[in-house]
Each structure stands twice: as structure tokens, then as C-alpha cells.
């Protein structure tokens, strides 16, 4: 979604190629089951506890799981649950700070802002890890992902007086743990 620079855009595969990819489904039963479970939960949330709804829901969940497996990129990182559980409270706390920070800046009469751009060299390589990094840094205090060009990320900072480099490195480490990637 976010990874929109031209160099990393994958060429569209022909449909027949995608469909012949089906051994994938048998190859990783744990992954398949967790996708199936997650999508069933989403259906339960959307449709409520009316069991007749599964007449539509079950085929939809199965088809959605199937297409998820077909469309999965081969090089995605491995999702790491302990890493994710460490990331979650950090993300929630930082987004609270981010909201308070920007809100307090706009209500102060003089508006303490000094907006400007800076660039940051990303060390993450997996597309999903990069997506999580870029999206969550926009919700952190003072930083906004403005543009992406290969490894270099253009960041808009609300206050150039404070250096966000340490915070960004910390976020990158947290994200790398979510996808089990070594930096």
C-alpha cells in the first residue's frame, strides 16, 4: 500500500500463474489455520451471533482465506507474536503522546512549531515490516512519513528543533522484532 516507489513495485503476474500457486495452501497448515481463524472472527464481528449468517459467511471466509494465500508475496517476513505483543503497548503509548503533543502545540497562542523535512535511511527490508514502520511513524509524536524513495524515507517533522533520530531507530527495532528481522 505504502510501498509505492517504482523500483519495488512487483510486476503483475498472469492469473494462471497465480492459480497454479495452490501447493502453498498445503505447505503451511498453521498459517492457513490462523488466517481462517482470524477471518472467521471478523465475520462473527460483522454479522453478530446469528448462526444462520454462516450460510453466507462460511463460503466467504473460505474464499477470502484462499485468495489471501494466493496473493501472499513469497518474501514476506515471519510474523512474530512476542515481538508484536511488545510492539503493541509501545505503539499505543506513543500514539497517545503523539496526539497530546500535536494538540498542545495547536492550542498554545504562539504555536511552537518549526516544520521542516529530514531524511532517514531505513534498514528494514521486508515489505510488510516497512509498511508497518512507515505507517506507525506517522502516528508518533512530531513525525510524518512524507515520501519514500528506495531505502531513503523523507520525513516531515513538526519541530525541527528536536531530533527524532533516536525515536525512529527505536521504532525500527520494535518493528523488526515483529517480523523477526535482524537489523
Amino acid at each position: 500500500m505504502i510501498d509505492s516507489d517504482k523500483s519495488s513495485r512487483r510486476a503483475a503476474k498472469p492469473v494462471s500463474d497465480v492459480l497454479s500457486n495452490s501447493p502453498l495452501i498445503v505447505a503451511n497448515p498453521l498459517y492457513t489455520l490462523s488466517i481462517l481463524g482470524l477471518l472467521s472472527l471478523v465475520w462473527l464481528l460483522l454479522a453478530g451471533q446469528d448462526w444462520n449468517s454462516w450460510l453466507v459467511g462460511l463460503p466467504a471466509v473460505i474464499l477470502a482465506t484462499w485468495s489471501t494465500l494466493l496473493l501472499r508475496a513469497p518474501a514476506e517476513g515471519r510474523f512474530n507474536l512476542p515481538g508484536f505483543l511488545r510492539f503493541l503497548p509501545y505503539f499505543i503509548w506513543e500514539s497517545i503522546l503523539g496526539g497530546i503533543d500535536v494538540a498542545s502545540r495547536v492550542v498554545s497562542p504562539k504555536m511552537r512549531i518549526a516544520p521542516g523535512f529530514l531524511s532517514y535511511r531505513m534498514r528494514l527490508s521486508h515489505p510488510s515490516a516497512r509498511r508497518l514502520f512507515v505507517n506507525s511513524l506517522s502516528l508518533l509524536p512530531g513525525t510524518l512519513a512524507a515520501d519514500l524513495d528506495g531505502d531513503s524515507l523523507h520525513i516531515h517533522a513538526l519541530d525541527r528543533g528536536t531530533d527524532p533520530d533516536g525515536e525512529l531507530k527505536r521504532l525500527e527495532r520494535m518493528v523488526s522484532a515483529v517480523y523477526g528481522e535482524d537489523l
Partner: protein, 93 residues
């Protein structure tokens, strides 16, 4: 007591939405405005959702609200990135 806490959360959520709108009006340029819209609204919706979930008291509804919050987070971060990228690339060419 719990209801009172829930109402407090809902009202602080609304306050953050309001402050985000003030930011949109007061901040000087496109990128700074995106800061206010993404971050203040993200926190505002989060507080609102926790408040509504506490008032309603059902786990299923709470999870549904959480799903809505996650989709909004994804949507706002992605659209902020696209808007800022478009404005930068248009100015360059």
C-alpha cells in the same frame, strides 16, 4: 462509576477531534496540517471507542469497535502519506 469514566473518555475523545480541527485551521502548511489530522484524530477515536465499549459492556461490540479503529488508523496513515507524497512530487516536477 464505570459509566462516569466512560463518559469522561468519550468527552476527551471529542476534545481531541475538536483540537485536530483547530490544528487544520491554524497550522500554516499542508504537511503540518496532516500531523494534526492523523495524530489528534487517531487518539480522539481511540478514546471514544474505549468509552463506547465500556458503556455497552459487550465483548463482541468492543472487538468490532477495535476493528473499526484499526481500519481508520490504516486509512488515515495511508491517505496522509499519499497526500504528502503527491504534493511533494508535483512540486518537484
Amino acid at each position: 462509576m464505570l459509566d462516569l469514566f466512560a463518559l469522561l473518555l468519550i468527552f476527551s475523545g471529542i476534545t481531541f477531534f475538536f483540537l485536530g480541527a483547530i490544528g487544520l485551521l491554524r497550522l500554516p502548511d499542508l504537511h503540518s496540517r496532516l500531523h494534526a489530522l492523523t495524530k489528534a484524530d487517531n487518539l480522539g477515536l481511540g478514546l471514544l471507542i474505549v468509552g463506547v465499549a465500556l458503556l455497552h459492556g459487550s465483548l463482541l461490540v468492543a472487538l468490532k469497535l477495535l476493528l473499526i479503529w484499526l481500519l481508520v488508523l490504516l486509512g488515515s496513515a495511508t491517505s496522509a502519506h499519499l497526500i504528502s507524497q503527491y504534493s511533494l512530487r508535483r512540486n518537484r516536477s
